[in-house]
């Protein structure tokens, strides 16, 4: 007992010291005698919230103006100036954030993470263009989206790519959209923002890799008009599908197509559907055979896609921070000269048990398994439907803009010789 006494005494002393330590600074604040006034710690605030509402108003007004310019005024010049304004405001002034394309991820995160506080501006930026497109076609792409505007400026010598190439490259946005939603839903990453090519240009501070990416897009954009919009933009997938059912859509001719073929080469985006007026339509048996093929092919591709991508769910999950931390922690420690990874150091100093990280990572992996099935099925369905649309021949008499891929830029309008306001032949 006597031997233990000093130990107990020391422990009590230590406990008192510890208690004292709480809330007390290592070096107490001095009591100044010279009348020194302690300065305030400045806390500059962020951009005023009212300006966020202003962005939404500017978005709504510019969409209304562009829609009016395209559908009513049928003025390419007007759309051009409107797109310059959008480039200046949403691009260089607002520096590309928040944008409708990136808002997909905010919305997805809000659906899957109840703790995430979704700004109202993000909801507005996501939903307003979708509604406008549902009624008037993709006028948002024509003159409001700063990404479209900057690419539109450089498309000097647009070349035709041909239907096949357009269809194949047009599948990339589905992959991008699917991955973006998967990563946002699993709280892993915002890949649309991470690989946003133009935001670095708007901010004049692109990293080398992103500068090369943006440069490639803009230089190739001279010959392939709007490469990002057509072959990457994930928001474009939504707009494309919604626009197909739009209430009013811009037309090439104000009244009736006269098949003069003048507009045939006017579209830089290959978005004009040529007339298909076959006098001898394909036989009934061919049509039935095609229908049966489609009915088997689409579900098959859907399941095949789901199965294939679900095989890759562990690779896809590597992006998630928790999964990668768990993997690093699980790695057998090798006696190397390399210093410990800073993630591991941070984790050790945080005092969280490793078992919790493993448990969390396995939950994330499960989410990725389900998510990759959904992603795969979605991609399979998209590929299958694209194939199906390629097989089906749609008969139509006139030159019309393809409601899905047309950006309503109104270039073709200038090529149409049919006057809009003439009601009688005498009135000129």
């Amino acid at each position: 007992m006597k031997k233990r006494l000093p130990t107990i005494f020391l422990m009590i002393l230590f406990a008192i010291l510890m208690l004292n330590g709480y809330g007390v600074q290592r070096f107490p604040k001095p009591e100044f005698e010279s009348g020194y006034l302690q300065p305030e710690t400045l806390q500059p605030t962020s951009r005023a919230e009212i300006l966020g509402m202003l962005d939404v108003i500017v978005l709504a007004v510019s969409m209304a103006v562009v829609t009016w310019l395209v559908l009513k005024k049928r003025s390419r010049t007007g759309v051009f100036w409107a797109s310059l304004f959008s480039l200046a405001y949403f691009g260089f002034y607002r520096q590309g954030c928040i944008c409708s394309i990136g808002a997909i991820q905010n919305i997805t995160l809000a659906i899957f993470d109840s703790s995430y506080g979704l700004p109202l501006t993000a909801i507005a930026f996501f939903i307003l263009p979708l509604i406008a497109t549902l009624f008037f076609g993709r006028t948002f792409c024509a003159g409001v989206c700063p990404f479209g505007a900057i690419q539109d400026l450089v498309s000097f010598k647009p070349q035709k790519l041909g239907t096949r190439l357009n269809t194949v490259l047009g599948l990339i946005p589905y992959i991008y959209l699917g991955l973006a939603i998967l990563y946002a839903a699993t709280k892993s990453d915002f890949i649309i923002c991470r690989y946003d090519p133009f935001v670095g240009i708007f901010r004049f501070n692109a990293s080398f890799g992103m500068f090369i990416f943006a440069g490639t897009l803009l230089v190739s954009g001279i010959f392939i008009a709007r490469p990002y919009c057509r072959f990457l933009c994930p928001y474009g997938v939504l707009l494309n599908w919604i626009s197909r059912f739009s209430w009013k859509h811009m037309t090439i001719t104000p009244t009736t197509c006269i098949q003069c073929r003048l507009c045939e080469d006017s579209c830089p985006y290959d978005a004009i559907d040529m007339p298909v007026t076959d006098k001898n339509p394909e036989s009934r048996s061919t049509t039935i055979r095609k229908l049966i093929l489609i009915c088997f092919l689409v579900p098959f591709l859907t399941v095949l896609g789901g199965w294939t991508i679900s095989r890759m769910h562990e690779t896809l999950a590597g992006v998630n921070g928790k999964v990668s931390l768990a993997r690093t922690l699980l790695q057998p420690e090798k006696p190397t000269d390399q210093p410990e990874q800073v993630e591991v150091t941070a984790f050790k100093s945080s005092g969280i048990p490793a078992a919790r990280v493993y448990a969390e990572a396995s939950v994330v992996l499960k989410h990725f398994y389900i998510g990759s099935w959904v992603l795969g099925c979605f991609l399979g369905l998209a590929f299958g439907l694209t194939l199906a649309f390629r097989m089906v021949t749609t008969y139509q008499p006139d030159y019309t803009p393809n409601k899905g891929t047309c950006y309503s830029c109104a270039r073709c309008v200038d090529y149409c010789p049919v006057g809009g306001n003439e009601l009688t032949p005498d009135k000129t």
């Binding site: 330590g21 809330g23 007390v24 600074q25 070096f27 107490p28 604040k29 001095p30 100044f32 005698e33 010279s34 020194y36 300065p39 305030e40 710690t41 806390q43 500059p44 962020s46 951009r47 919230e49 966020g52 954030c97 990136g102 905010n106 919305i107 809000a110 659906i111 109840s114 995430y116 506080g117 979704l118 700004p119 109202l120 939903i127 509604i131 549902l134 923002c193 991470r194 670095g200 901010r203 501070n205 209430w247 009244t255 009736t256 006269i258 098949q259 003069c260 990874q341 800073v342 993630e343 150091t345 941070a346 984790f347 945080s350 010789p417 049919v418 006057g419 032949p425 005498d426 000129t428």
Partner: protein
């Protein structure tokens, strides 16, 4: 069929103007009007399109209703929690801004006004003066000013600060922890997904309401005691 005739005349008129002779195509609108099957088809297609349009509108409304429960009244901004920060130095290199929007912030209320400041001087400094060789800060962004014996005031020259966190590490190891890294919102672009947050090894970054955009520690926590 007055409408079709008028159309044909318009077409013919405009063709005359452009000098193209493709009058044969004038038959087309007439055909469309006369063919009842074709007409029906268009109606059916229109009906279907209207149906789909309605359901898409419902779908958009559904998504909006789903997310509106999460909607924050105001903007969210990024901020780092000094209690979690391990001063790894990535704030200086991973921000989209150059120099970084993360800066060292001095909470004067916590400062001990030490002569031997762990945030100002390099560990093995012999003489406590403002010589460049003594300073921990790589950009000399901390200004040391004599107040009264033996106290010194330290202020951050924010335009010079690159947010490397070297001084923060020094202050929290040897001092009161009054130097803390914070996202300065006059510089922060408030990216949708913060580039530093993605690379932060300590998971110190989070979205906070724009109304209270700072997470400064005002008193020493138990870790420092």
């Amino acid at each position: 069929m007055p409408a079709a005739t008028a159309d044909c005349l318009t077409v013919a008129g405009s063709l005359k103007q452009t000098g193209t002779a493709l009058t044969g195509h004038c038959k087309k609108p007439k055909q469309l009007m006369e063919d009842p099957g074709n007409n029906q088809k268009i109606n059916r297609r229109r009906f279907l399109a209207a149906g789909v349009r309605g359901s898409v509108l419902l779908g958009i409304g559904g998504v909006a209703a789903l997310v509106v429960k999460n909607s924050a009244a105001g903007q969210m901004v990024w901020q780092l929690n000094p209690a979690k920060c391990i001063q790894c130095g990535r704030c200086a290199t991973n921000c989209v801004m150059s120099p970084s929007a993360v800066k060292c912030v001095h909470v004067y209320a916590m400062c001990g006004y030490c002569d031997l400041c762990g945030g100002y001087f390099k560990p093995e400094t012999k003489t406590l003066n403002t010589g460049a060789e003594n300073q921990l800060c790589p950009t000399s962004a901390i200004k040391r000013k004599f107040v009264e014996d033996p106290f010194f005031e330290y202020t951050i020259d924010e335009p010079l600060c690159i947010g490397c966190g070297k001084c923060v590490k020094g202050c929290s190891s040897f001092g009161n922890g009054s130097l803390q890294l914070q996202v300065r919102h006059d510089r922060c672009q408030n990216c949708n997904h913060c580039s530093i947050a993605r690379n932060c090894p300590a998971d110190a970054f989070s979205r906070v309401p724009a109304g209270e955009p700072y997470l400064l520690r005002q008193v020493a926590d138990d870790k420092k005691a």
